[in-house]
Amino acid sequence: MAYFIQQLINGLTLGAIYGLIAIGYTMVYGIIGMINFAHGEIYMIGAFISVITFLVLQSVGMGFVPLVLVVMLIASMLFTSVYGWTIERIAYRPLRRAPRLAALISAIGMSIALQNYVQLTQGARVKALAPIISGGMTLFEQNGFEVRLSYLQIFIIILTMALMAGFSYLIDRTPLGRQQRACEQDRTMAALVGVNVDRTISTTFVMGAALAAVAGMMVTLYYGVVDFFIGFLAGVKAFTAAVLGGIGSLPGAMLGGLLIGLIEAFWSAYFTIEYKDVATFSILVLVLIFRPTGLLGKPEIEKV
């Protein structure tokens, strides 16, 4: 039982990170119907920026941990958003009216270019960072097995919950969110009633990038290592999460992320760690066969 709860905690932490990335996929898919393949790279860029911000803070001698975390968070969100905006502007906006596959290839190209850009500028070696938040508490003990909840895990879960709450408010209650939902339903109609569609799409990318940056920072803190290649697998997993939860649905993305995190944690704990990715994808296929719209997705009615 103790082991089970420990894996539950680990899985939820991992799932929170996947969920944050998945939101970026699902929002972009919802609004322009394309798979933003470069989103995993955005997350990787976020992770790198948080590492670099940490080093900058270290070199100016700032050591107060809460302040360091806040600055890292803000800096990585800010810089990564600009990356998200630029990518949309360069690689996707000219392709608004092009065939869908064109945008996908452009996104794959962007992803390759970004990966190699980071490799060129920051080197191919793994960046290891000393833990910033250490320690934790022991929840309970059973048969000599301690269930531990680290402060970092608490930080990750609370931050994710706060971001989700803020984000839901943004989408549900503010004019910005309303414009976004309008564009999602019908771009032409939204443009006719005075929504600036291009700007709304840009904002979507910026928001997705900011959330991915938070995920990137969390991973930096959680695993302590970053390299230029982490974006690909995380991107694929997060996209799987978005599809699992029902693409286009925000709560679905979060739910899908949590599920993927839990599946991975439990599979690694009880079966073989090598096949955890196989397990994730197999479950995705099974879910899609029986619920083709994902868990929380709305069925799409095709009209002639």
């Binding site: 794959i108 190209g109 599809v243």
Partner: protein, 446 residues
């Protein structure tokens, strides 16, 4: 985010607007460059240290600004005499398309003849023939995937999985059971097609984008299984000593029972095998192309194209979308299987390393950059993506970065691909308006 508010519209051609544009570009370039180019983290021992590279950073930003100014000026020039040049351009396009359309068979045959004569050319060194062989593998894969993506309109992001199935089935059958290449080649195709059906059957009912993620996942699954199932596949070390193919039982080795050079009574040369492999892939690729071209004229092939254009219309005409898609998926997989077993026999070694997502991405890029459904486009795009990077070996470091950037650039400049014209293979009624048809975009934004 103040940046998001700036709209760089097409209409802004006045001087202040352009100055503002350049200024904005500068600001954004600065923000982008500071954390990655201006600052660099590097490990010193166990700790990370920070370095700065300001001069390089400003040089790069300067280059970006020069590029932006050049771009704006170019657009200014292009916008002014618009009407006339657009008309002229359209005329030239039409002419080229007509000419190309009429003589496409001729171009194809000539290209094939040139390819067949390549090893006899004086400049054909071992290296050249080797590169040409690699190029033809990609052309064949491109043509195979073209059936799935270009004709049937199914987005397959895990095509390399079938390639891997083909390669491993030959490698295993030949090393474990000692079967010959010529027996394994069709078997590899059958296995790959069987995997295609197995995967396709549950997921082809789904919408296109789900298919994309499932095929992507499948590609990863195959790779993970190949890496971890050590007893069967020898894991990450791969299978070495895969037998080379023989020419009707005559091997290409220096000594031994029946050798190729003895058969012809000529001196042994290691070049023989390279040239033989080249002809083998040329024939396989030619077969793929011929098969596709024939298939497109059959009801099944026409159903693929129809399905790509409108699934609902197809359904109401009594076409079973799942079966039609499945046939395209399985046939595409089959050709990947053939190419895979060729790959295994050519390398003499297979390992999971060769079957990463990057390969799938390159093959898909070949199809889309070439123009979906265009056989000639695949050849051109394969040339651009396989041969050109080969020439830029000196820029090794920047190669992949430029590769990605080029993919974006080509798509932005030519979204329908180099040879992108969606002409149906068979037209039952005469065209009403050629110009209108040429302009029509395959997919109109909502």
């Amino acid at each position: 985010m103040s940046e998001t508010k700036i709209k760089v519209g097409a209409a802004e051609t006045s001087l202040p607007a352009m100055a503002k544009d350049v200024l904005m570009t500068a600001v954004i370039a600065l923000v982008l460059a500071v954390p990655f180019i201006g600052l660099k983290s590097d490990s010193v021992g166990t700790a990370l240290e920070l370095y700065t590279r300001w001069p390089e950073m400003f040089a790069i930003i300067g280059a970006v600004l020069v590029g932006r100014v050049a771009f704006l000026l170019l657009r200014l020039r292009r916008d002014q005499p618009r009407a006339q040049s657009a008309q002229k351009r359209a005329g030239v396009k039409e002419l080229a398309a007509n000419w190309g359309g009429k003589h496409i068979v001729l171009i194809g045959v000539a290209g094939f003849a040139c390819a067949a004569l390549l090893p006899m050319m004086p400049f054909a060194s071992r290296y050249t023939v080797d590169i040409a062989t690699t190029f033809l593998i990609y052309v064949m894969l491109g043509w195979g995937l073209n059936i799935v993506v270009g004709l049937a309109g199914l987005l397959d992001l895990g095509y390399v999985a079938f390639y891997a199935v083909g390669a491993y089935s030959y490698a295993l059958l030949s090393t474990e059971l000692g079967w010959s290449f010529w027996v394994c080649l069709p078997l590899a195709g059958v296995f790959a097609a069987a995997f295609g059906v197995m995967l396709g059957f549950p997921v082809l009912r789904l919408r296109g984008d789900y298919l994309a993620i499932v095929t992507l996942g499948f590609g990863e699954i195959i790779r993970v299984v190949l890496t971890n199932w050590v007893d069967f596949t020898k894991g990450p070390n791969g299978i070495s000593g895969v037998p080379r193919p023989s020419f009707f039982g005559y091997s290409f080795s220096r000594g031994g029972e029946q050798t190729f050079h003895d058969l012809l009574g000529i001196a042994y040369s290691s070049q023989h095998r390279v040239v033989f492999l080249y002809f083998l892939i040329l024939i396989l690729a030619g077969l793929t192309n011929w098969f596709t071209l024939r298939m497109r004229k059959l009801p099944t092939g026409r159903a693929w194209e129809a399905l790509r254009e409108d699934e609902i219309a197809c359904r109401s005409l009594g076409i079973n979308p799942t079966n039609v898609k499945l046939s395209a998926f399985a046939l595409g997989a089959m050709f990947a299987g053939f190419a895979g077993s060729f790959f295994a026999t050519r390398q003499g070694f297979v390992s999971p390393e060769s079957f990463t997502f990057m390969e799938s991405a390159i093959i898909l890029a070949i199809v889309v950059l070439g123009g979906m459904g265009s056989q000639m486009g695949v050849v051109l795009a394969a040339f651009a993506l396989v041969i050109l990077p080969e020439w830029f070996r000196d820029f090794q470091q920047y190669r992949m970065f430029l590769f990605g950037a080029a993919m974006v650039l080509i798509m932005v400049l030519k979204p329908t691909g180099v040879m992108g014209r969606r002409e149906p293979t068979i037209r039952l009624h005469k065209k009403k308006d050629a110009a209108e048809d040429a302009e029509a975009q395959p997919e109109i934004a909502q």
